[in-house]
């Protein structure tokens, strides 16, 4: 979606060329957008609307009836249906054969609803503005078809003359039974023609004869002579001989042709949707209980309004929204992908002014669920990813959206955590264990146990690599950071002799698969399936609801392996509504929780509510997200490698500061016990002892303030003396800006421990020289 033009010419020719080039690119973008948008068929007409020969907006009509808004319903009908008082009573409803409801009960009685509506409200169409054209058109009949043509042409501004040999308009409509179509309705409905200026020539045998003899009349610009009118109803069986709605359609088509002839424009272009067609809409009837037709107490007079409302309630209000039902993010912004794609496109084109779409673009978890669910494979993730890439390239990415996650990644790839080594005592590595940054942050103990397990079961040396796979940079569309991370990773892997890599985290797995496809990888779960010795007691350990991480969506073998591990461990698995290929994201994916913490919270809350059972996850982030929503959740490793913790399902997720500490300590600890190396090199500020009350710590975590940030503030304040003092409380207040964010700490000192009372931060800075 991005095009960068660099045209270095001068003069007006150059300007013109540049303009043409820009326009062309714009057109290309537009085309691409339309192709993307077009995949979402949410705005396609409902089945009934497409099947209706004149495309009455049935869905809206029924919606209005359902709410008892009868006048609105009549207005909806008047918009498309000529002489709705008549046609609304007698339409032979070909639409009903296509009504989606018929797949769950009887089709909605659309025509009976229309009839009830026009019986209840007799409201003639209001025409407030008539264009004025000079051309005159003769209509040679007073039948429904001709009068429809007349009606359409009058509204286009033509001067209309209607000729009939009879003494009234309507022809065989007058034969219909009074109970179905009262005579006064016929008169009243057709009266609008004259009101709008049509000249009506009754008993006009002479004129008709003249037109027959002189088909190319000079007086009129067009003459419309429909085929002989036939009777509508077979008198005895009361079945339709001629379809009234098709008569109206034919009249409408004739009007379009006549108009185009007079205007000398293409007679055929853009007429595909004239008459019934097949909609591309998809509407699911899953979970829709079948319902029979609402009975009519008096068939000859049709539904009573109450009966009609009841019948209207059976209408499914057909639409798609399959993805929106599944994804809270899509629901949250109150639209659907087609609308979002347009909004995001517009967002991209804003040069000056507020880009309201930024949050929309940055909140998607890029989890890919929508694409799997959509009948047309619409991928909102692709739309958002492309938009993020373009925002970064144009320098329009809001700095706060992803900065914290990128700092976290930088930490993991820095000296405090990153490590790449052969197994102690080995010169070669057949395998390389890559636990990932998040498992190390969340359960460092498991990294150690699993590494022990791997070393004792696999031959040829199992090296260890601690770092981040780069997913945060990829999600944030920071291509340079992402590539730089991959290059280092690759170089270290080369240096260890290109070992086969054992991955735990499925996000790492997906990154390796896509961006490091030459590296041979295997998931830890597959290794465990092969080497883990389950105790033979087939004790029933109970049932766990299994949450698949979104990055296993396209990894069925991993999902299967995990299921088999759980079964072998004695657990029954409860499959959630959204699982396997259709699993939902925990809110961390795509950095949703960074760009839109409130939404990520709602996402995981809804996930947690999908089952009463305890959950089991096999991604550290998923587990921590579920735990933070108050859901008892086990990590698969808690089951396979139990620790001393008696109730691991209740483990609280670590704060961001603890995540850093856990990683750093893990490295320190492993280096010490396995490689006998001392790596502790605390930075200056880190030896400050802090005392932080749990509420303050929680608040700091929510504000994404790390302990190390606060230590830097204090170190700075103590050294420079730049701080404020409150003599009443005895608290100090100071600020420090390590990079982009300024952190404030309110603290007091007791026995060389710094007690933190409050911490906050902002991004605005005091302008240079003014401080």
């Amino acid at each position: 979606m991005n095009f960068f033009v660099c045209v270095c010419l001068c003069g007006s020719v150059a300007n013109k060329l540049r303009k043409t080039a820009e326009k062309e690119f714009k057109n290309m973008e537009q085309k691409e957008l339309r192709e993307t948008e077009d995949k979402c068929i949410q705005e396609q007409p409902a089945y009934c609307v497409a099947a209706c020969p004149i495309h009455v907006d049935v869905r809206t009509l029924i919606w209005q009836i359902k709410q008892g808004k009868w006048e609105d319903a009549r207005k909806t009908l008047n918009k498309t249906m000529p002489f709705a008082g008549i046609l609304g009573r007698i339409c032979d409803h070909p639409c009903e054969n296509h009504c989606k409801r018929r797949e769950a009960g009887d089709p909605v009685a659309i025509s009976a609803l229309e009839r009830c509506c026009v019986q209840k409200v007799s409201l003639l169409p209001k025409i407030s503005f008539l264009p004025s054209k000079t051309q005159k058109i003769a209509i040679l009949s007073g039948g429904l078809r001709s009068l429809t043509a007349a009606w359409d042409l009058i509204r286009k501004g033509y001067k209309i003359h209607i000729f009939t040999e009879q003494n009234r308009l309507g022809e065989s409509l007058w034969d219909l039974p009074e109970s179905l179509l009262p005579k006064e309705v016929i008169e009243k409905e057709f009266s609008v023609l004259e009101k709008l200026g049509a000249q009506i020539h009754l008993n006009a045998e002479k004129d008709m004869g003249f037109f027959k003899a002189n088909p190319g009349s000079k007086e009129f610009d067009a003459v419309y002579a429909p085929p002989e009118n036939e009777r509508f109803l077979a008198p005895l069986e009361m079945t339709w001989l001629v379809s009234p709605i098709n008569e109206a359609l034919e009249g409408r088509k004739a009007a379009v042709t006549i108009d185009r002839q007079i205007q000398k424009v293409s007679l055929t272009a853009g007429r595909e949707k004239e008459g019934p067609y097949k909609t591309r809409l998809f509407t699911s009837i899953e979970n829709i209980a079948p319902l029979p037709l609402t009975p009519m107490s008096h068939p000859e007079s049709g539904y009573t309004p109450e009966e009609a409302i009841q019948e209207a309630e059976r209408c499914l209000q057909c639409q798609c929204l399959e993805c929106v039902k599944a994804c809270l993010y899509l629901e949250h912004f109150k639209g659907y992908p087609k609308k979002y794609a347009r909004e995001i496109y517009n967002n991209e084109s804003i040069v000056m002014g507020e880009r309201k779409g930024n949050t929309l673009v940055n909140s998607c978890s890029l989890c890919g669920l929508c694409e799997v669910i959509c009948p047309n494979d619409f991928s909102m993730a692709d739309v958002c990813r492309n938009a993020r890439t373009s925002m970064v390239k144009r320098g329009k990415m809001p700095p706060s959206a992803h900065e914290f996650a990128l700092r976290d990644m930088a930490f993991s790839n820095g000296e405090k955590f990153a490590l790449s080594k052969h197994e102690p005592g080995h010169e070669k590595s057949e395998y390389l264990f890559f636990p990932g940054c998040q498992l190390s942050a969340s359960s460092p103990g498991h990294v150690e146990t699993v590494y022990d397990f791997l070393r004792s079961h696999l031959k040829g040396g199992v090296g260890l690599m601690l770092r981040c796979c780069g997913a945060p940079a990829d999600w944030a569309a920071r291509e340079e950071i992402f590539q730089a991370g991959l290059e280092t990773l690759e170089a270290q892997w080369e240096a260890l002799g290109r070992p086969k890599m054992i991955l735990v985290c499925s996000t790492c797995y997906s990154i390796f698969k896509r961006s490091l496809s030459h590296i041979n990888i295997i998931s830890l779960w597959e290794i465990l399936e092969k080497y883990y010795a389950f105790s033979l007691s087939d004790a029933d350990k109970g049932c766990l609801a299994l949450h698949d991480p979104c990055t296993t969506r396209h990894e069925p073998q991993i999902r299967e392996t995990v299921r088999s591990l759980l079964k072998n461990a004695g657990y029954k698995i409860e499959e959630l509504k959204y699982s396997g290929e259709q699993t939902t994201c925990c809110g961390y994916g795509g950095l949703m929780s960074n760009a839109n913490p409130a939404l990520a919270k709602a996402v995981i809350q809804r996930r947690a509510e999908e089952s009463e059972s305890d959950f089991v996850a096999y991604c550290a982030m998923c587990r921590d997200a579920l735990s933070s929503a108050g859901k008892r959740t086990l990590h698969l490793l808690d089951i396979l490698f139990p620790s001393d913790d008696a109730d691991p399902a209740s483990q609280k997720p670590p704060t961001y500061s603890q995540r850093h500490e856990n990683r750093a300590r893990l490295k320190e600890h492993l280096c010490q016990i396995l490689w006998k190396e001392n790596v502790s090199d605390m930075a200056d500020h880190e030896d400050l002892m802090l005392n932080i009350a749990p509420e303050v710590e929680k608040q700091m975590d929510e504000r994404r303030i790390l302990k190390s940030d606060i230590q830097k503030v204090i170190r700075y304040a103590e050294e420079s003396g730049n701080r404020f003092y409150n003599s009443k409380t005895g608290h100090w207040l100071a600020a420090y800006q390590p990079v982009n964010v300024t952190y404030w700490a309110e603290y007091s000192v007791s026995d060389s421990v710094f007690v933190i009372h409050n911490a906050y931060c902002h991004r605005m800075t005091i302008a240079e020289g003014k401080r």
Partner: protein, 70 residues
């Protein structure tokens, strides 16, 4: 922007370095290439400026978001 802090701040806090009182002063604050002048408590002597929590998490956060989306 005008005054975005509670007047009591001026009494509660002192500049620890100078021991001086804080006085309301016009301060220029900037983000993403935009600059505003607001009134904030400032040390009369060394010019150290106090940005209170209510401002940082309130109006300032709002303006930051608007500027980021510009």
């Amino acid at each position: 922007m005008s005054q975005y802090y509670e007047a009591s701040l001026l009494e509660e806090w002192n500049c620890a370095k100078c021991g001086a009182a804080l006085k309301p002063a016009k301060v220029d604050i900037a983000y993403m290439g935009s600059q505003f002048t607001i009134e904030l408590p400032k040390c009369e002597i060394c010019g150290l400026v106090l940005i209170p929590e209510s401002l940082a998490r309130g109006k300032m956060a709002e303006v930051e978001k608007i500027l980021e989306d510009k």
